[in-house]
Structures are given as structure tokens and as C-alpha cells.
Symmetry: D2
Subunit: 269 residues, 4 copies
Amino acid sequence: MNLYYLGPKGTFSYLAAKQYSLEKEVIYSHCPQQNLYDVVKSVAENDDAIGIVPLENSIEGTINIIADSLIQQDVYAHGEIYVNIDFGLYANEGAQIEDITKVYSIAPAISQTIQYIHKHQFAYDYVDSTIQGLERISFTEAAIAPLGSGELYGFTPIDSHIQDYSLNITRFLVIKNHANFDKDGDNTILLISPKANKAGLLAKILNTFALFDINLSWIESRPMKQELGFYYFFVQTTTGKTKELDNVISILNNLNFKVKIIGVFNAYS
Amino acid sequence: MNLYYLGPKGTFSYLAAKQYSLEKEVIYSHCPQQNLYDVVKSVAENDDAIGIVPLENSIEGTINIIADSLIQQDVYAHGEIYVNIDFGLYANEGAQIEDITKVYSIAPAISQTIQYIHKHQFAYDYVDSTIQGLERISFTEAAIAPLGSGELYGFTPIDSHIQDYSLNITRFLVIKNHANFDKDGDNTILLISPKANKAGLLAKILNTFALFDINLSWIESRPMKQELGFYYFFVQTTTGKTKELDNVISILNNLNFKVKIIGVFNAYS
Amino acid sequence: MNLYYLGPKGTFSYLAAKQYSLEKEVIYSHCPQQNLYDVVKSVAENDDAIGIVPLENSIEGTINIIADSLIQQDVYAHGEIYVNIDFGLYANEGAQIEDITKVYSIAPAISQTIQYIHKHQFAYDYVDSTIQGLERISFTEAAIAPLGSGELYGFTPIDSHIQDYSLNITRFLVIKNHANFDKDGDNTILLISPKANKAGLLAKILNTFALFDINLSWIESRPMKQELGFYYFFVQTTTGKTKELDNVISILNNLNFKVKIIGVFNAYS
Amino acid sequence: MNLYYLGPKGTFSYLAAKQYSLEKEVIYSHCPQQNLYDVVKSVAENDDAIGIVPLENSIEGTINIIADSLIQQDVYAHGEIYVNIDFGLYANEGAQIEDITKVYSIAPAISQTIQYIHKHQFAYDYVDSTIQGLERISFTEAAIAPLGSGELYGFTPIDSHIQDYSLNITRFLVIKNHANFDKDGDNTILLISPKANKAGLLAKILNTFALFDINLSWIESRPMKQELGFYYFFVQTTTGKTKELDNVISILNNLNFKVKIIGVFNAYS
């Protein structure tokens, strides 16, 4: 079975994929991709593919490209993985922090170390992947990369745990191109699409869940890309596909929402 | 008075700033900045500064760096501006689309033309600004930039209206480092910060507004960066700072939320 | 067709029944009954019977015996009638108010003139019907009866409009022993019976109607007679049997309520 | 101290008053009154008076005259008492049920034994008090009275536990003409008066309590006696006068309700 993730070796996605393999005690063919779009597309197009994609980070919030992929592509969630996010500053051997004038990294890494970057008055530039950043290392240029990843390419961190917020966790989804709703699952992700725009839609959604005493652990909106102020809503319930959830879905249908079950699975623990 | 925005000339922020100047019939000293972080910081630190920052795009959703700035910096909203987003493909004179193999642009522009990019099988890379993209134009490389902006630098679009979604609008905020809540304002942006994490916080917030029949036009959550699943909430009401809104704020305080008024102003029309 | 009501001639029920006959332009066989229980029972047992029963008075509130009958008997509402309630003090010819020491009337009439009774320091006693009260008239004893009713038996009011609250209206229901839900009806009465007792049942009911934007003009609870604090709920909607109402009923069923449609009809105007 | 209740000896109110004296281990001067109106009025006018009044019966529901008294008179609840309601049929010695053709009792007692009365095809008539009923006992006429009460007057029940519903409980309030809100109380009765009539008032009230997670054990409406469909609301919370309750009251004030605290006390157990 093919395992797709945002590569190359050393990304947090790679670390999440490795963690997933270990838990499942299965050896997968690794298929690192150049961008998240390609990860989702590969999974959508291959029946024997598994994807590991970041849905939410405790600092950055929802990863929009993944949320939008769940809307646009025919993929389903089969589980979730939590990974601690720690960054290091990778440079040439012997380099001192004072020598560095510019850093390279992918956008989320820049964003999550921006205070560190500003404190050291580094210039910065975006690259598409961790390895591209490492490749740009020179005497005055460094790369910000997941702690532990630079070593895979022969670099040493000259500073570590440099993220702005010490507690930094990313929640990854395990996706496939077909649904398999776990009967014993204790978590459900739903995509709720209003058919018409009017005031109070989100309140109606939340009140419907409240009516059946179903708690929500994640609520996110994404633009419908038709007009400003018209949104899709994602919710994650702390309940599986129970009779109560079926009732909620049926009510939401009657309230003029389309509801797609993205996944029913056991919460990561 | 200094007008800060994400520069250089030709960005949508620049276009929004120009639109703002025209409406106010005031000539401002233009202070284009290299990134949004610097725009907000400059405004926060200067009493006679005005900033024009993108809050929400009809395709991309909320611009997280701006939402987070409203949380972290002491800036206030004094108005909003809507700008239509149209992209063009800028290249060397005489170039044909078939000649192009790679495009450069800033991340949001890449994101909003990604289907176009994939359709033409372009490689792509991120740059920090529109002008940086234009500077990389070569025989086989093009830049994606706001329609009308490339011309300022002597380039011609070889394709136009290339965004994936034809209807594409960005809502900008006008920010200053001090509050001046418009008594006749018909819109209020609030930042609502829970003091403790528990289930149903957003429902409580929405129900409090519903109690006083106040409609919300924008609801957004941003991570508190302390733990996964603990969020700040932004809401925008379609009402000014009325007695009812004061009541809502007082209730939210009693329900253990901190509430900051980000701005009271007239909705853009 | 037989028309049942609380008799004899001269009661407000009689006046309501007369009003109903006039509106329908039908001559019914009048079947006055001695008490409300017998009115409902007669209707329940006869297919060609119509009953006119008081559901709610603007001073007294809901008439419990009728609400309980709607729960216990198989009767349905086919319409409603509003009657102004005015009372007179009927006595022997030539009597002065100062001569009177005691008054007789039915319980609701006593209740609605109690301040008048106390002001004149009358003793009072209950009778089963208006006519029983009139029969007890003596030199020092008077009867409180609907204005206009005593004349039918040869008495004259020595005081009139003596009810404590000048604006006094009773809403009567038209009942039959079979349902005929008016397709064009704009009002629905529902009886909602919880299958289990727990906190917040009424809030759940009201929120379900609110979800579908259905307004309620009447909400009443009646004890289930099994334990203290366990109630049936009546609601009257300002909507007919629409798709939305069907949805509400289906949700209430799923929330473990039994729902009986008591009637769909046009509101009295 | 004077203890007021609906007399004479033998009524359930008397039994409740006796129960109250025993619990308090205080000997009160008994002041039985002829009707409930006089009980409340006596308490309202005397600073050293205590009243014991029935608020709610598990079969009959709320006792309207008491609910209305709490609205109209300046009395406050200081506690509650629960009394089991059992009725007996009192007749002349040696009488058989078959001999009886008519029964006398107060209206609530008739109501709560109406099926028994109908089963035996008794005629019935209302009296103002238990003792009045007992006084009418003749060879063919009997009295329905609280079990144990007739014996006080020398009568024997020829049938017992004759109420229609075997589980029959009345909740009495202990009232005084001044408030003394028990700091350790775990129950609060509130009277909530809308200042203007519009749709959804009760939902707003219930949602306000829900916002602060306060449960309600009793919800009752009583007509405002101004127009049909305009109600006072009583609620009883399962919480004392906490900070949360103060918040709820303040919100209800802002939502244009007047709120009077009728009492804070410990629930009867």
C-alpha cells in the first residue's frame, strides 16, 4: 500500500507518516509529494493509497489547503495523528547564530518562528520544502527545519526549539479515497454545506447538535468561493455515527444543508 | 499622515490603499512595506499612521496573519474596503503561454490560480511580493500578478482573469493604533477570548447575540496558541455599539470571556 | 348535527355556541350540558357532535379541565371562537346593592369578580351553573351571571360590567371526535408528551420550533399526573401543517416526545 | 407567631401546617381561614404571620389563585412542604356505598376524585370547605374529604384512597410578607414579567438560564390579565441566589423583563 505525504524526508508530515507506520505495524511504500495538493490528488486517484495530511496546528490553526481539499476532492478521514512540532536552525558546521543574516523555510515554519526570526533580525525567504531550505544553507544563510530532519541530510542544528510557542502540535488526518466508517468510532467529521446564504446559519447548526447533546471539538468555516460571507462548515463531534448523529444530519438536511460524512474514527490518544 | 500597506506598487493592497485615498480625498504619504507583519507593526507604533490590511478573501478565507495581528497588536479597525481580485499572467514581450514552464508569485496568488497553473502544467515558486515575481520573468518564466500592476513595471499580461474563481473579492480593514468608535457606525468587530476552555463556547457566544437579536456577518476562530482546540473568536455584527451590544459584551464578560472592541464603523457599500 | 356546550341558556359557552351557529349559518340541535366534562364526553362519543369549550380566558388562564380533556379524550380542535366576558349582578326587582349580603355563581365567575365581591363585602357560594345561581336569588342574595343571560330568565342586572378586569376575553375551541386538518389552516395545536422526565424538556421543545422559525402563540403545561414536575406540553403555532411543522414533529419524536396534532385550523379573526 | 392556612381542621392545608409546626418544633397560633385569598391577604398584612399555601398539585397542576397572589400581593416564599393527598368517602355510620346518591366537597377534591364519582354515578356539589361537606352528610349524601380529617368530626370513611391517581402530592409554600433570602438556599422562585408582548419571550427566558447552565424545576405562566396571550412567567431554579443567578436576572432586566425574587430557600426533602 502506498503512503502519501508532503515530503521529502524530514518534514513533519514525514514524521507523522513514520509514526503511523509504526502504530499500524505495516510497512508502506513511501510516496513523498512536493506539495499538499499532490498528496490529496494522489490519494483521491488511487484506491490503494493512504495519505497523511495536516489538518490543524495549535499555532497556525486550520490548514486551509487541506480543509479545501476535503471539500473539493473525494477523500475520507480514517483516523488522526498528533505530532509535536519542534524547529531547529540548521546551518553549516561551525557557524554561529551571529553569522546568519537570512533563513529559508516553508511558509508555515517561517510563520511559527517569526518572532525568533525578527528577534535575530534575519531576512527570510520561502521555499517549497524542508530540503530546499537545507540546500540553500551557506555561510550566512540557514534553514529552519523540523528538529531531527536536518541530520538526515548531514546538517547540525545550531539552535533548537526555536518556535515562538513552546507548545506546538499538529493534528494530521489519515485519508483514503473511500469511506469506511468505523462502527466503534468515537469521533465524526462532517462537512456541512448551506444551500442558501442567510443570517444565523452557524447558530442553527450548533443548536441542532445541542438539541441532541452532542459536543463539538472542532468547528471551522471555509469560504464557498462564490461570494464573501457564504461558508462551508466543518464540525468534529465527540461521538461516532450514533442514532443521535443520524437525527442531526437528517434535521440539517431539512434545514437546507447538505451534509457529507468525512470520517468516523477513534480519536487519537 | 502615513499610509502603510503591503507593497510595492501594484499589489492589491496598493490598489486598496489608492481606493481609500480617493474616497477620503486626502493625499497620504505612501509607506509600502515588505510584509504584512511590518504593516501592522508600523501602524501599531505610529500615532499618525493608517494601515490597509486584507482581512478576508472570498476564496482564501480569513487572512490569518492579520487576524492574529488584531489579537497580538494594539490596533483598531476604522473602516473596511472591498477590492475585486483579478490576476494576469505577465511575461516577456512576445512570449506565448506555451513557452512558459514556471511561474512566480506570492503564496495567496499561487493559491488562487492553482487550477490555472495545474492546467498549464507550470512549475511554480513563491516570492515575497509581486515585484519580486516580475523581476524573475525570463523567456520561460512568468509572473502572476494583479491585473494592471505589471504595467507599472513595463510588462504586458499574456493572459488575464486567470484566477480559479471568477468572483474574487478581498475585504481590507483600515487600521490605526487607537480606537475611535463611530457613534453612527453600523458594524462592530469584536475579539472574544475565553478565559477557560470547555465545550460549547462558540454556541454560548452565538446564543448571547441571538438573545438580543443581533446578526453576525463574520465569525472566525483563531488558535490561542496554548493548546489544540482552544480558540479566540472574532465576530462582526451588523449593528453599531448599541445598548444591546453593550449588554451582550457584559454578559460575555460574566460568562468568562474577555471582549475587546476592535472597531465600530460603517460597512463598506 | 348536535351542538354541545356548558349550559344552560345564558352561559358564556351558550353565547359562544350561538355565535358559532350564526357564523356557520347552520341551525344545530342545542345540547347544553351540566358540566364541561359531560360536554367533552358527549362529543367524544358522538360522530355527529360538535362541542364548544372554553380553552383559555384572558384573566383565568387555561381552563384546566378542558386542557386535560384534550389529553385524555379523543377529541380534536376544528376552530376557535373569541367571546367578550362581561358580568352583571342579577337580583330581585327593586333590590339595591346595599341590600345584598351574599352572591352565587360558578367558580370562574366568582374568581373574575372577586375584587368586586370583596369590595361590597358579599359572602359568596359556588353553584354549578348560571341558572342555579339565578334560582337562588332572594331579597338579600344575588347572582353573578354573564351580562344578558339573566334577562332570559326574567331578571334585571342591578349592576353591570362588574368583572375585576375590564378587558376579559375567553377563547373557545370547536371540537369534534375526529380530525380534519384544514389544508389552508394557519394555526396548529399540538400536544407534546415526554416519554421520560429530565431537565430542560421545554427548552428543547421551544428550540426545535425556533430552529424552523415557527412562532408559538400559546404554550401550556399540564401535569402528567404520575409525579410532581413531569408535564405534558401544549403549543399553538401560528402556522398550519407545513413541511417545517412536519420536520419539527419528526425531530420531537426523535427527541423522545410523543406528538399529537389536536387541530389545524384558521385562527379566529 | 400566627400560622395561616385554609381551614378548618382536616384540610390538606391543615395537615401541611401541622407538618410544618412539627418540623420547626415551634407552636404557632393556628389561624385557619375560609379561603385561600384570605390566607394570603392575612399574611400580606401581618408582619408576624406565616402562611401555608398550596402552589402545585401533581394532578391539578398549579393552584392559580396562589400563583396570582404571588403576583398581586407582597408575599415571599420561605420554604416548601410536600404532602401526600389521600381522599376518603365519609358518610353516616352504617351507610353503604350503594346508598349514596350525591357527594359534597371542595372543587379540587371533586376534581381529583371525578372518575370515582362518575363510576358510582354520584351527583355532586361544591362546598367551600371540608367541614361544610361533612355537615351535609345525610343518609344518601356523603362527603369527600382528606383521609384522616373526617374522624376529627366524628365520621368514618366508608371508602378510602378514592382519588383517581394513586400518586397524588401537593407542594405547599411557606409564605411571609417580607423576604429573607436564605444564603445557603438551593432553590429560587422568580416571577418574570415582560414589559412588552412579542413572540418568543419564554424561549428567551429559558435560553438565558441555559446560558449559565441553570436548571429549572418549575415553569409556569399566568395571564397578565391585560390581553389574551400576554403572560407572567414563574420559574424555580435548582440553585440559590448565586452570582450566575444574579447575572441571569440582570440579563432579563436588559431584555425588558421585570424580575422579582419570590424566595430563596432549601428544597423540601
